[in-house]
C-alpha cells in the first residue's frame, strides 16, 4: 500500500493546520493509500513523523504557510503548497502523489 506523509502548518496554528491535515488524510484514505500528517499548530507538533515514516513514504506533501523543518525530507518526492491549497485541492495532491508527479527534494 502506498504511503503518503505530510506536514501542515499555518500562521495562527488554530484551524487551517488541522483542516488541511484532515483533508489530506481523507483524500488518501479514499484513494486507498496510507497517510500520516504531522500538524505544526499552536498546540505544538502532533503526530510527529518518525524516521521510519519518512523512509516508508512514497511522497511528501508540505502544506504550510509557516516554517517547517525540511532537511529531513532530503531525497523524497515532495511538493510544497499553501495550507489553503491543500484544504481545497487535497484530492488532486494525493492523486499526483500516487502518480509519482512530485519532484525529489534536495535540502540544498
Amino acid at each position: 500500500m502506498a504511503k503518503i506523509i505530510g506536514v501542515t502548518s499555518c500562521p495562527t496554528g488554530i484551524a487551517h493546520t488541522y483542516m488541511a491535515a484532515e483533508a489530506i488524510e481523507k483524500a488518501a484514505k479514499k484513494a486507498g493509500a496510507k497517510a500520516k500528517v504531522e500538524t505544526n499548530g499552536s498546540i505544538g507538533v502532533e503526530n510527529k513523523l518518525s524516521k521510519k515514516d519518512i523512509e516508508e513514504a512514497d511522497a511528501v506533501i508540505i502544506a504550510a504557510d509557516a516554517r517547517v523543518e525540511m532537511a529531513r525530507f532530503d531525497g523524497k518526492p515532495l511538493i510544497e503548497v499553501s495550507v489553503s491549497h491543500a484544504i481545497k485541492h487535497a484530492k488532486e495532491l494525493v492523486d499526483d502523489a500516487l502518480a509519482g508527479k512530485f519532484t525529489v527534494y534536495s535540502k540544498k
Binding site: 488541522y18 499552536s42 484544504i87
Partner: protein
C-alpha cells in the same frame, strides 16, 4: 474541553444582519464583548482583521472561521453565526459564506480549548457535518450537532 463549553447561546446568532465581511466580523466580535469573553472590541476586531490580511479564513464550502489569539480575550470562546443570504468573505472557492465560527483564544494559558478547536476544524472537512449545520435552524440544533464532536475520539 467540550465544544459546548466554548459556545453558549449568548454568543450565537442564527440570523446575522451583516452584509459584508467587515460587518460580520464586527457583529460576531460584539457578541463576544457583550458576553464578557473579549475585553476590547476595537482591538479584538483589529486582531481578527490582521489575521484575515495574512490569508482569508473563508475556507470554502460556505464556511468561514475568523480567529485570533490575543490578550484581549478573557475566556476562550467560540461564537457562531449564520447568514441566510450569504456574505462575500473572499472565500477560497469564491462562494459566499453562510456559516461563521469566530474563535477567540487567549494569548496564554492552557491549550485545552485549542485541542477542541483542532477537532472542530477537522470536522469541517466532513460534508455531512457541514450540511447538517447549513440545515440547522435553531441554536439547540447547532449545539446538538456540535456536541457530536465532544463524543468523538480523535
Amino acid at each position: 474541553m467540550k465544544i459546548t463549553e466554548l459556545m453558549t447561546e449568548d454568543i450565537m446568532c442564527l440570523d446575522l444582519a451583516s452584509n459584508t465581511k467587515k460587518e460580520v466580523i464586527r457583529e460576531l466580535s460584539t457578541l463576544l464583548v457583550e458576553a464578557n469573553k473579549v475585553s476590547n472590541l476595537e482591538k479584538f476586531v483589529a486582531e481578527i482583521e490582521a489575521r484575515e490580511e495574512l490569508s482569508t479564513t473563508g475556507v470554502g464550502y460556505g464556511v468561514a472561521i475568523p480567529h485570533a489569539k490575543t490578550k484581549f480575550v478573557k475566556t476562550p470562546a467560540l461564537a457562531f453565526g449564520k447568514s441566510k443570504e450569504g456574505i462575500d468573505y473572499d472565500s477560497m472557492d469564491g462562494e459566499d459564506a453562510h456559516i461563521f465560527f469566530m474563535i477567540a483564544a487567549p494569548a496564554d494559558g492552557a491549550n485545552l480549548h485549542l485541542q477542541t478547536l483542532a477537532k472542530l476544524s477537522r470536522k469541517l472537512i466532513d460534508e455531512d457535518f457541514r450540511n447538517s449545520l447549513h440545515e440547522a435552524t435553531t441554536k439547540e440544533e447547532v449545539l446538538h450537532i456540535l456536541s457530536s464532536i465532544d463524543k468523538e475520539e480523535k
